[in-house]
């Protein structure tokens, strides 16, 4: 058995929320506001809807092949070599995505808190912790997340309450000022983010009760969508669409707005805690998926020997992918959405499901 861990339904929901929310919380508002202006929250709702469909798709596909991960059932659907090729694509995607995340992570810490520290040092530290967690298996970072996520969500809620005095709901008006097209455009990137729920197809074999997978995926998506939409509304209500789009990290500035009774201020440390802790879990999930996938692709008995090499690749890629934080943002805003969404999140799973149905592979979807 490559991965001996089993996780419960609540643990899985928490994990899937942590996999999306902490990064999205920080980056999505800026990009969405840029495209959809004050209607960004509608974009988020649209994206949530899309993510629900994607979750449905991934889970249905996965449930046809009980006990098999995404990396295994491709072979069953497409045959040995085409399947292996598709699996390799997914492994690439997980590594690439994770490298982007590590880079986002490093960029955030460096630009917001420690401008003089070399980014590689920040990334090295977090990758090392992630490697330690991944080496110890799914259950370990799931348990870490069980402690971390309630703290994150708790502090987000507290922050939301604390910034209410700064909000001006009139900023959200007028609705649909520029029509529906910008709103749909704005939904692409959050959809790509929330579509990472496709990772359920890797996780399902390790659920203690696989039949709950549909509910788990839906619950995680709805929680994520809710928090993202609320953040979007608040950012726009505080800053207005122009300024929000101009910030690199609107959520950070949102916290900087907190001034309560002259002593409760400058709570950015909380934001850093949220981001580092949540980012760690997110990196762990994709890191684990990449390690597990590689081991299954190579038909190894254990993925542990792959953890360190993968970490080195991650780190190297995260440094070489982009020249600057602006390049990173440009890539994320312009290319990431279509790239991830059309190929990995919707495209291939849809194809797989179609082929599986046509060739009659796997059991009926649960």
């Amino acid at each position: 058995m490559l991965e001996g861990g089993r996780i419960g339904a609540r643990q899985a929901v928490f994990l899937m929320v942590s996999m999306v929310l902490p990064t999205a919380f920080l980056f999505v508002a800026s990009v969405t506001s840029h495209l959809a202006r004050q209607d960004g929250w509608i974009s988020i709702l649209l994206a949530t809807l899309a993510a629900l469909l994607i979750a449905r798709l991934a889970v249905s596909l996965s449930l046809r092949f009980p006990g098999k991960t995404l990396f295994q059932f491709t072979e069953e659907i497409l045959g040995r070599w085409p399947g292996k090729a598709v699996t390799l694509l997914y492994i690439w995607w997980y590594i690439h995505m994770n490298a982007e995340i590590v880079r986002q992570f490093g960029s955030f810490v460096v630009s917001a808190f420690m401008p003089e520290t070399p980014i590689i040092f920040i990334e090295l530290l977090i990758t090392a912790i992630a490697a330690y967690a991944v080496r110890n298996g799914l259950e370990v970072f799931t348990r870490v997340n069980e402690i971390v996520l309630p703290l994150i969500l708790g502090s987000v809620v507290i922050i939301i309450f604390l910034v209410t005095p700064e909000m001006n709901m009139k900023n959200l008006l007028p609705v649909f000022e520029y029509g529906a097209v910008p709103v749909i455009k704005g939904a692409v990137m959050p959809a790509a983010w929330m579509g990472e729920i496709v990772t359920m197809a890797v996780l399902i074999p390790y659920l203690s009760r696989a039949e709950e997978a549909h509910r788990i995926a839906a619950a995680a998506t709805l929680i994520t969508g809710f928090f993202l939409a609320v953040t979007q509304v608040i950012d726009i209500a505080i800053f207005g669409p122009e300024i929000t789009a101009g910030w690199l990290f609107p959520a950070l500035n949102e916290i900087r707005m907190i001034h309560l009774a002259n002593y409760l201020e400058r709570l950015e440390a909380i934001q850093m805690g949220i981001w580092v802790a949540g980012g760690l879990v997110k990196i762990c999930v994709f890191y684990w998926a990449a390690a597990l996938g590689s081991a299954q692709w190579l038909e190894l008995k254990d993925y542990k020997p792959l953890v360190l090499p993968l970490g080195a690749i991650l780190l190297a890629m995260s440094i070489t992918l982009h020249d600057s934080i602006l390049d990173l943002f440009d890539f994320l805003g312009r290319y990431w959405g279509p790239y991830a969404l059309t190929i990995f999140i919707a495209g291939i799973p849809l194809l797989l499901l179609a082929v599986a149905a046509a060739r009659g592979r796997g059991g009926s979807p649960g």
Partner: protein
């Protein structure tokens, strides 16, 4: 000749090889003859008293505390007896009054009309011994073990067996108040060094035949009594099997403290955190047993081990359950915050003062800056030096003779604290943080406090090099490590992760007893129900009001 000696020597505990230079002296010659090439463990006793005594004397040669006493049954020279016991291990009054007196003086009076013969002597003697527990054996090894445990062995001439008389009695400490785990309210007694006393303390608290005490001996040389204690029907049988299995694996010459056992049975030997709980409070052990845990007690130490342990037990204290729940919950919060302070206090201070001054309110920042202006060292060096000084003081405080205690505390507090600040070597704020951290680390379970004090130093280095980011990474590393830990197979972070809503009643808060209806979910599965529902007290109904 050497061929004969070797197996005997191998049979002797702790003597694998014959000592050098004892090639073939006359003494060894005799040993070889007496034991005829067999170890004492499977050597049977002889009907000849002289041979039995010779064997015992050979085993106990150069043991000046082994006492041999030969006498006649009722003064009758036909029936020769001998007792062997260890001076200081056996109760002399009992030996004199109940063994020797009844056999030498009282015997003829009781057994007047029966004719005493050598053949019937053993049965008669067994009838005549007013001892609460006797045992017959024909094995030399058992007789030797009995003598070493403080029992008295009685040999009867003409019979190839010996009677082991329970006569253990030695000097020991009385049951006293716990020295290390104090409580304002609650039982004061603590375990002592004698396992029998300790077991009786437990039995007095749990008067149930389900309280099982399984004895075993550990230590090839020391042959220390070790007891595995659990409550059948509450404990998970697999846990008991696992405990016994791990204890059975131990092959060591000596166990002098439960710490030896702890290190040999824990799940993660390299972790800074202990996955075995130790306590000297019987009430604590009883509570642990009642939650479905198993305890390991050992002769010679007042510290008992309990397994499995969860990390949250660090902030639990027996007194929480004796005081009212609202107050206990508040105190528990104090302990939780102390735990955080004692891990993060100095590192957060270093991070904020060095990298994140903007997080401080301006007035505080100015006052801090003014204090630190004259200090020649960076905050990291200052804090590490002071923390280390505190560790020195703490260690000295434990080891120093009581008479010089005052001198050290005066020197420690005044010189290191006050003078260092006055001289401008250390900022006053650093001293405050270090002192607070030091005090905070004593509010919770001592073993966890040791781990956390140890982890404080790497945390400080992380804070000094990477600021808040380093601190957060450090905390996440510790958290990840805690998530990997298991105690006898049970996840260490239970009930927080894996989360168990019902068990959160006894983590950050201590819910009233009428709410905690169930034992901890993971360990108390066998008999989950602790009490009846609906026990919440309330004033009497209208009819009974005065």
């Amino acid at each position: 000749m050497v061929r004969f000696i070797k197996p005997f020597k191998a049979g002797l505990p702790g003597r694998r090889k014959p000592a050098a230079g004892q090639g073939g002296g006359p003494g060894e010659h005799r040993e070889g003859d007496v034991f005829a090439g067999r170890g004492i463990q499977d050597r049977e006793l002889s009907p000849d008293l002289e041979i039995n005594l010779l064997m015992m004397k050979t085993v106990f040669s150069e043991c000046s505390d082994a006492i041999f006493r030969e006498f006649y049954f009722a003064g009758d020279e036909r029936i020769k007896l001998a007792i062997v016991y260890m001076d200081g291990m056996a109760d002399k009054i009992q030996i004199t009054a109940q063994i020797m007196r009844s056999l030498m003086l009282d015997a003829p009076l009781v057994e007047q009309d029966e004719e005493l013969t050598r053949a019937r002597a053993l049965t008669t003697i067994k009838k005549l011994l007013p001892i609460q527990h006797i045992e017959e054996t024909n094995n030399l090894g058992k007789a030797v073990d009995a003598v070493l445990s403080g029992d008295t062995v009685l040999f009867v001439d003409g019979h190839a067996s010996a009677i082991i008389n329970a006569s253990r009695g030695w000097e020991g400490r009385n049951v006293e108040e716990s020295q290390t785990e104090l409580a304002v309210r609650g039982p004061r007694e603590a375990f002592v060094e004698t396992i029998r006393v300790n077991l009786s303390l437990l039995r007095r608290k749990i008067k149930s035949p389900d309280l099982k005490i399984e004895m075993m001996k550990l230590g090839r040389v020391t042959k220390t009594d070790v007891a595995v204690v659990y409550i059948k029907g509450i404990v998970n049988d697999k846990l008991v099997a696992e405990v016994k299995e791990r204890l059975g694996r131990i092959e060591i010459d000596a166990v002098l403290e439960t710490g030896y056992i702890e290190e040999l049975i824990e799940d993660s030997p390299w972790s800074p955190f202990s996955t075995v709980y130790h306590t000297e409070r019987p009430d604590k052990v009883a509570a642990q047993l009642l939650e479905g845990r198993a305890a390991i007690l050992m002769d010679g130490t007042p510290y008992a081990l309990t397994v499995p342990v969860f990390f949250v037990e660090a902030i639990q204290n027996p007194e929480d359950y004796y005081e009212r729940s609202v107050y206990s919950s508040a105190v528990r919060l104090v302990r939780l915050i102390s735990l955080v302070i004692s891990l993060l206090g100095p590192s957060l201070y270093i991070a904020i003062v060095t990298y994140h001054q903007e997080m401080l309110p301006t007035a505080l920042l100015l006052s801090l800056a003014a204090q630190r202006e004259a200090v020649p060292f960076p905050a990291l060096v200052e804090a590490v030096v002071m923390e280390f000084a505190f560790e020195i003081l703490r260690e000295a405080g434990i080891r120093l003779p009581r008479q010089v205690g005052q001198a050290v505390s005066i020197v420690g507090a005044l010189i290191i604290g006050e003078a260092a600040v006055r001289a401008g070597i250390i900022a006053a704020s650093t001293v405050i943080v270090v002192a607070l951290t030091g005090i905070a680390s004593f509010t919770f379970y001592y073993s966890a406090s040791v781990s956390i004090r140890f982890l404080r130093f790497p945390m400080m280095v992380l804070a000094g090099t990477l600021g808040l980011y380093g601190v957060i990474c450090g905390v996440l590393t510790i958290l990840t490590h805690l998530a990997t830990l298991r105690s006898f197979g049970y996840p260490y972070l239970f009930p927080v992760a894996p989360f168990s809503a019902g068990d959160m009643k006894d983590v950050v808060v201590r819910a009233p007893w009428w709410v905690m209806l169930r034992r901890p979910r993971l360990i108390g599965k066998t008999d989950p129900r602790r009490e009846a529902a609906g026990l919440e007290p309330s004033p009497p109904p209208d009819g009974r009001k005065r």
